[in-house]
């Protein structure tokens, strides 16, 4: 998996004081890609049985979530830790 860009999400988590970005991948996310994302620190949830499986990684500072088959996943981050989005993007660049 390779991250090729990011865009500010239209659907932010601003009600909770968080910002959200969509990290764009060069190809649709596969099961393997999602497993690979387990390297990201935090609790890992993977609903594999859904028609389009959903995953989520969560820690105190940010939430990563997405759906298998999409060419992006969402990164929601508390404003105090906004730099985390670039750190993650760099990991998979």
């Amino acid at each position: 998996m390779r991250i090729i860009g990011k865009r500010k999400s239209l659907e932010t988590c601003t009600e909770a004081g968080w910002d959200a970005f969509d990290l764009l991948t060069e190809a649709p996310l596969t099961d393997e890609d999602i497993i690979c994302l387990r390297a990201v620190e935090g609790s890992f949830l993977y609903l594999r049985k859904l028609k389009k499986p959903f995953f989520k990684i969560e820690n105190h500072n940010y939430i990563v979530k997405g759906v298998q088959g999409d060419s992006f996943f969402r990164f929601a981050v508390h404003r105090d830790h906004a730099d985390e989005v670039d750190r993650l993007a760099e990991m998979f660049r």
């Binding site: 859904l50 028609k51 759906v67």
Partner: protein, 386 residues
């Protein structure tokens, strides 16, 4: 795509609204009292007021004024009524378009009435507060945008009249999808938006202020009429030959160039609603809401929020045992193409009372363009989690 977020903004719009909007943008522009004979936009505004009056139960439609929507309307109402927040009774079911203007005005905090687990506010509790004699106005959300619960507005109006309170009603969520009877209920002022169940576009809406209710314009500017008049009211401020003795004429509440494409579209939408019949729309949307409630209540791990015996608008909130609301809405949208809304829905105070906590709910909301198949798709998606 299955669109179940009509309580935020209705979609799609009737075809006639789209066609009218396009035709208006394509035509040479005109504005109220300012046209150069191209067309008489005042007729459109007048017709729109008349139609809105029919939908909102207001006979004196000339006291309906256009704005950009409910938020602007409520700010103008609170500013124009000039009643300090601490002398206003309101409820925990209100949207931030009410709460933020009230809590951020100079003065104290408004009195907040609680609600039950369905989002219903007891008129008896309101009367007990009104009886104390400290309040001068009451602000009520006709129906909650979170649970859809409809308040006993007629009883609130009766109590407000009994204690001499100015009664302000927010019909943002109900105009076009519920019966609104402003005159019958004794409503003194009312705010509405055009882009929800009225089926107009964003950036339209307005407010009503009953004749005789003390109300000062919050905004001043060009109106296209009586341009020599600069100063309104009793003080001439040295401009004795260009001041008007009274600011009571309605047009001062609509200043600047009006949103004629939006108002024209709203007029068309209001005509569409009246032609179809509000009662028919209520019946169709009620059938959808009941069908959805029945379907969702049978799905393991789905908990309906704010359901009960009170009347409801076409809105249902729920939570899942598997995922928090924000994630469930994400999955519904990205895995199933079903658009809902998650979170607090800009109504932060109600959640403590309805048991939805800090994460809020997933909300689905219908328009007359939704079908049972849309609800079947939602139910099938949620059943994958059970």
């Amino acid at each position: 795509m299955v669109y179940l977020n009509n309580a935020a903004t209705s979609y799609p719009k009737p075809m006639c609204v789209r066609e009218t909007l396009v035709r208006t943008i394509d035509a040479p522009p005109s504005g109220q009292y300012r046209s150069a004979g191209i067309s008489d936009a005042g007729d459109i505004m007048g017709e729109c007021r008349k139609r809105l009056g029919a939908i909102l139960g207001i006979r004196d439609e000339n006291r309906i004024f256009f704005s950009s929507g409910s938020t602007e309307s409520l700010n103008m109402l609170f500013g124009g009524l000039g009643i300090p927040p601490e002398q206003i009774i309101t409820t925990v079911t209100e949207h931030n378009s009410v709460l933020r203007p009230l809590f951020n005005r100079t003065g104290g905090a408004p009195v907040l009435l609680p609600c039950d687990a369905e989002g219903f506010v007891s008129p008896a509790v309101f009367e007990a507060e009104a009886r104390k004699g400290a309040a001068r106005a009451a602000v009520l959300n006709h129906c909650s945008n979170v649970t859809g619960t409809v308040q006993d507005t007629a009883e609130f109006g009766r109590i407000a009249r009994k204690y001499g309170l100015v009664f302000v009603l927010d019909v943002s969520q109900s105009a076009g999808c519920l019966s609104v009877k402003a005159d019958e209920w004794g409503v003194d002022a009312l705010a509405f938006t055009g882009h929800k169940s009225l089926l107009g576009i964003q950036g339209t809406g307005g407010f009503f202020v009953r004749e005789g209710v003390p109300f000062t314009p919050v905004m001043f500017g060009g109106t296209g009429r009586d341009s020599r008049v600069i100063v309104y009211g009793s003080e001439s401020k040295g401009l004795s030959d260009i001041h008007a003795p009274s600011a009571s004429d309605g047009y001062e509440y609509e200043v600047g160039t009006q949103n004629m494409p939006g108002i024209t579209a709203l007029n068309e939408a209001a005509g569409f609603l009246l032609s179809k019949g509000i009662e028919q729309i209520i019946a169709e949307e009620k059938a959808l809401t009941e069908y959805c409630t029945a379907r969702l209540s049978k799905i393991e791990g789905i908990r309906l929020i704010g359901q009960g015996n009170h009347a409801h608008s076409p809105v249902i909130s729920f939570q899942s045992d598997i995922l928090p609301p924000a994630d469930l809405a994400y999955v519904l949208q990205n895995s199933f193409g079903i658009v809902t809304r998650a979170g607090l829905h800009c109504a932060p105070l109600i959640h403590k009372y309805i048991g939805s906590g800090e994460q809020g709910t997933v909300r689905v909301s219908f328009s007359l363009f939704n079908t049972k198949e849309d609800i079947d798709a939602l139910a099938a998606a949620l059943e994958e989690f059970s």
